[in-house]
């Protein structure tokens, strides 16, 4: 048995191993470096909002310090590369880390906003780590456990309270005074931004679902969805319309919610709140302790809403039990419950049919409601550059950042001034979204235990969609008790230091 390697070969192999071990890892592919950003020419029109009331002063938030003198170019010899703007040539003195959700729109808009910001603060650079939605929350959790000094965290609205309770994000009152906050965002948008009297996370954008319809199909069926909010359908009238156009498996009457999974609280949780009158337990959805859902989620009125949702799939069969990707855009569903990002998807997918929208229906004896909220910019509690990060957050969420974001993403802005002045929301189809948001917008239940609740809600919705011969009351009560049991650990949330 002669297994011994020649000495020279051993040496080469060991050297190769050492070199391999010392080679730096490849940079993460999701990271958007400024050099990879869209060209300034492409970003410029978006960055120069024509409809923003006072672009120049607004672009420099009052609390943002003037660019540091040291940041001004002092060495002409170190000129920027020809393709880059002059301001981008300076080596960044401040490098902020940003963790957020991955999408082409997010990446484009965030990079464009950064470029605008660098005109004011050329010394600031941002490393974006953008992850698919399903991976973002576990990543934030892992970073929190490892005490990674992330500077800016893009938090989903309902999770802001949980992050604040657990000390994952830091309050920003130092940089956002009360007047500034009250002036810039609508009260609805601020319900999740503020936690126990402190301001934690300004909103990136807003949302509110309406009912979109394929006009070619509704015209053919002789259906005229109401054009005015005051004439909104009841769920009974809506069901009649959905049944008229229902022709499964070619075309279903309605796709209730984005994506093709059974759904989440955002859309699937609307009907149980609609089933209650404003201010009722069913409408509120959660107790005054912001933890208990037993008696609210499983209130007999709420169960009527759950049952209506269940029957769309199992009794009336106007919705596909197994989701169809892009059902409405591919004309596999005539009606579609979604926020106004439906318009962006419609354009992106190149759909070719006439469409319109109308308000979400109300339930007889109940109310009208749309769930609001979207992403928020939050300051990482472990950030070593809180001041710089907070200032960038202020720019991101301010009039310039919000306008750039709207121009790219096309979703309901959270910035009050922008929302009130954009012509897009003064005429159809976005007018319906704006009116629905102002008149009937409510955040999902606001609680530090939203993650637990939402996990259970996904399971519940899946069972409502797929289940046959269901005892909906029992199913709802079981979920409510499990949720209360899981969130009982937060009972100190109002007093925890």
């Amino acid at each position: 048995m002669s297994w011994k390697l020649p000495a020279w070969l051993s040496g080469v192999l060991i050297a190769a191993l050492v070199i391999a071990a010392c080679t730096p890892a490849a940079p993460p592919t999701a990271t958007a470096k400024p050099a990879e950003a869209p060209k300034p020419a492409a970003a410029a029109p978006a960055a120069a909002p024509t409809n923003t009331p006072a672009p120049a002063p607004a672009a420099a938030p009052t609390n943002t310090p003037a660019p540091a003198p040291a940041a001004a170019p002092t060495k002409p010899a170190e000129a920027p590369k020809p393709a880059e703007p002059a301001a981008g040539a300076k080596p960044a003195a401040v490098k902020l880390s940003f963790i957020g959700v991955q999408s082409d729109d997010q990446q484009f808009a965030l990079t464009a906003i950064l470029r605008e910001y660098q005109k004011l603060r050329p010394e600031v650079d941002v490393q974006f780590e953008l992850l698919p939605f399903a991976q973002l929350f576990p990543k934030i959790q892992a970073n929190a456990a490892a005490k990674t000094p992330t500077d800016i965290i893009l938090a989903d609205g309902p999770n802001v309270w949980s992050f604040a309770y657990n000390g994952v994000i830091a309050p920003m009152d130092e940089w956002f005074d009360k007047d500034y906050v009250a002036k810039n965002w609508t009260p609805t948008s601020l319900l999740t931004s503020q936690y126990r009297g402190k301001f934690f996370a300004p909103p990136q954008m807003e949302s509110c679902s309406v009912m979109w319809f394929n006009k070619d199909m509704t015209d053919k069926a002789g259906i005229k969805p109401p054009a005015e909010m005051s004439e909104s359908w009841t769920t009974t009238q809506a069901l009649e319309a959905w049944q008229k156009v229902n022709n499964p498996p070619q075309v279903y009457g309605v796709r209730w919610g984005q994506g093709n999974s059974p759904g989440q609280d955002y859309e699937a949780g609307l009907l149980r709140r609609m089933a209650g009158a404003k201010g009722s337990n069913a409408y509120k959805g959660i107790g005054d302790d912001s933890l208990t859902i037993t008696g609210y989620f499983d209130h007999p009125d709420a169960v009527k809403g759950h049952t209506f949702f269940h029957e769309l799939y199992q009794k009336h069969k106007v919705s596909a039990v197994e989701g169809i990707p892009n059902a409405w855009f591919d004309q596999r569903a005539a009606f579609y419950i979604s926020p106004d990002n439906a318009m962006g998807t419609y354009n992106r997918l190149g759909a070719k049919f006439a469409y319109g929208n109308t308000a979400l229906p109300s339930m007889p004896g109940g109310s009208q409601i749309c769930h609001t909220d979207s992403w928020h910019y939050a300051l990482g509690a472990n950030s070593a550059q809180k001041k710089e990060a907070a200032e960038f957050i202020k720019f991101l969420s301010g009039p310039v950042g919000s306008k750039i974001f709207f121009d790219r993403v096309g979703q309901l802005p959270s910035h009050a001034e922008l929302l009130n002045t954009l012509p897009d929301y003064k005429s159809a189809p976005r007018k319906t979204v704006g009116e629905m948001f102002r008149m009937h917008g409510q955040p999902r239940i606001v609680t530090v235990g939203f993650t637990e609740y939402n996990g259970l809600m996904q399971e519940f919705v899946g069972n409502l969609v797929a289940g046959q011969n269901l005892d909906v009351q029992q199913l709802a009560t079981t979920l409510a008790r499990r949720s209360d049991s899981l969130t009982a650990k937060y009972k100190d949330w109002q007093t925890k230091p």
Partner: protein, 305 residues
Amino acid sequence: MSAVVAARSARRRLLTLQRRRYLVALLFVLPALLNFLVFRYIPMALAAQASLYDYSLLAGWGDFVLWKNFVRAFEDDIFRTSLWVSIKYAIGKVPLQVLFALLLALFVSREVRGMGVIRTIIFIPVVTSLVVAALLWSMMYNKDLGLLQSLLGVFGLRHPGLLSSSTWALPAIVVMMVWKEVGFSTIIFVAGLKGIPTMFYDAAAIDGANRLQQFLYITLPLLKPITLFIVVTQTISAMQVFVPIFVMTQGGPFFATNAVVYYIYQNGFHYNDMGYASAMSFFILALLVTVAYFQFKLLKGNVEY
């Protein structure tokens, strides 16, 4: 005297040589050992610690609860249901996969023209991303638009909606995963088949044994160590099933596919209860070690060649 000195010197040289060999060997395995230490054993030790605490990723270390999380696992109906789902999945998948892999291996181990292409086709699903495969199969299974329904539609039939049925969802995932992983087991079996000396078959043929007898009394017994390897690794893998559940059914409907690792994930990441999730993980570890021990006992081959 000089002979004794020479022998000692030779032994010393030998020992030195052995040590050098060990050193070189150690250098080669060191990166792998470091990898195991950093990415396996240290996290396992931390998980063991977490299982004794009210630990969550967001909130950090809570109270020391000793065995509370383990006791909770025994009392948790959903954990028991999830465990049973994983066991059913393993019972459904492992024998089916071993059987198909063996049949395919017998077929593709023959040296005929074009067999390389067939082997490649069988192996392609193994190198396909599991997430992509799960998404594609979800579409194929779709009640309204799926390929399966298109095929059934030719005969005027409609399937019940496999992934939305609490009866059919788990078998549907088993079928997908057998398709996905059978190629790997096939390759292992092919290696085993190639290792059986042909003289055994020649001798059996001279003695008048037919093909079936040769398979039953030569091939199968001599493949026992390979079968053991496949059964043990596939059982462990089956008990850890996660990705197809996450992508295709999210544990539903009505816990029909709520495999135990998915339930552990839910507790760790959705319910902010990593301490309890860690305790359940150790429970599964103990269960798998026990199962593997009995599989070794049952399948350990005493046939040598």
